[in-house]
Amino acid sequence: MQRTPSQTVGPFFHEALRWPDGEKVRFAETGQPIVLLGRLLDGAGEPLADSLIETWQLSPLGKPPAPAAGAARPHGLGRVETGKDGTYRIETLMPGAPEGAAPCIEVTVFARGLLKPLHTRVYLADEARVRAEPLLKPLAGSTRLKTLIAAPEAVGNPTVYHWDIRLQGVGETVFFAT
């Protein structure tokens, strides 16, 4: 059977798709608290004030998040809207990573003007470790690899990571084909 095609989320999704504390990612385990924040920018460098970001990541132990129970939100999943200035912010725990891999968070962007979502990843590790990722081999000689790395802004508890997403043009973020 042919799959149903994607359509844009449009500008009016906020209340319908807002989850209580959607920006606070939950896990069954405890771990090192981190904050990931930044801005979404379009091809003119203007902020996207009307987009929805979803994040998915492994647990602090590097495992698929255990199912949540009762009335709780699904574990490991973050859902947040961008503000009027294009900013987003999620509070989560440092993802674990399989042996030899760099810790990362998967990010999906929905917005008016996006007829289908954009998929990418943000790495919370230094460039040498990210360059060693097999998935990113096609970017081995490219400066664009850096668009997938978050910069630690304030080390502490939580450590704050800054990562901007540029949809188009100079500094365009690497997005994944699906």
């Binding site: 095609p5 994607s6 009016f12 091809g43 998915w56 709780a72 699904p74 188009q168 365009e172 699906t178």
Partner: protein
């Protein structure tokens, strides 16, 4: 190609939001892993009756919207989260960004959600949304539509889309609908009148089945 392209000339908002660089190829099963399992208590029983969220009945043509969520092998997508949102019968969203000069309905917020059952079925009670103008091009009006968000049981199944109504003359003029390159795909976005799910004397039935990608992995217990 099933989905629309990122850049679709007739839909203006894509112009500065479509990436220009080549996308990075990832392995075919990259997003095929057990997805988030939504606990049953996350959704309340009344969340799927959009006509019961105000103090009284909303204005408009009451309808029952039901169908199944299936994967591309025809298997039901079980206990997955379906979230919908829509304009009221006058074509106005209960949303601060909507400046269309049509009346708000205090008894209609236009949002609902539920989990599919073990056969992949869902059912919403709502009112038929109105068409509304937008600024994309001269005399642009969006055809009546209901937005759907499907979480799926694996990230490969995640889908946000819009459902349209059969026989709507605005469909031929709508760049969002027409951005889907394939005729079969566009048909998948249109519901069907379904008298068998109507409530006699009360609500007209519409049927809309949604097909997600197949997934080898589903969450434990689903």
């Amino acid at each position: 190609m099933i989905d629309p392209p990122y850049l679709y000339e007739d839909y203006r908002s894509t112009h500065l939001r479509a990436p220009k660089e080549k996308l990075l190829d990832v392995p075919a099963n990259f997003f095929d892993r057990p997805g988030p399992l939504v606990p049953s208590g996350f959704v309340r029983d009344s969340d799927n009756d959009l006509t019961a969220h105000g103090k009284g009945a909303p204005l408009g043509e009451r309808m029952v919207l039901s169908g199944r969520v299936l994967d591309s092998d025809g298997r039901p997508v079980r206990r997955t989260l379906v979230e919908i949102w829509q304009a009221n019968a006058s074509g106005r969203y209960h949303h601060p960004v909507d400046t269309h000069d049509a009346p708000l309905d205090p008894n209609f917020h236009g949002m609902g959600r539920m989990l599919t059952d073990d056969e992949g079925r869902y059912r919403f009670v709502t009112v038929k949304p109105g068409a509304y103008p937008w600024l994309n091009h001269p005399f642009a009006w969006r055809p009546a539509h209901i937005h759907f968000s499907l979480l799926g049981n694996a990230p490969v199944q995640r889908l946000i889309t819009q459902m349209y109504f059969p026989g709507d003359p605005l469909l031929a003029l709508d760049p969002v609908y027409n951005s889907v390159p394939d005729g079969e795909g566009r048909k998948r976005l249109v519901c069907a009148l379904a008298l068998e799910s109507s409530v006699e004397g009360d609500a007209l039935g519409y049927r809309y089945d949604i097909v997600l990608n197949g997934a080898k992995s589903t969450p434990f217990g689903v």
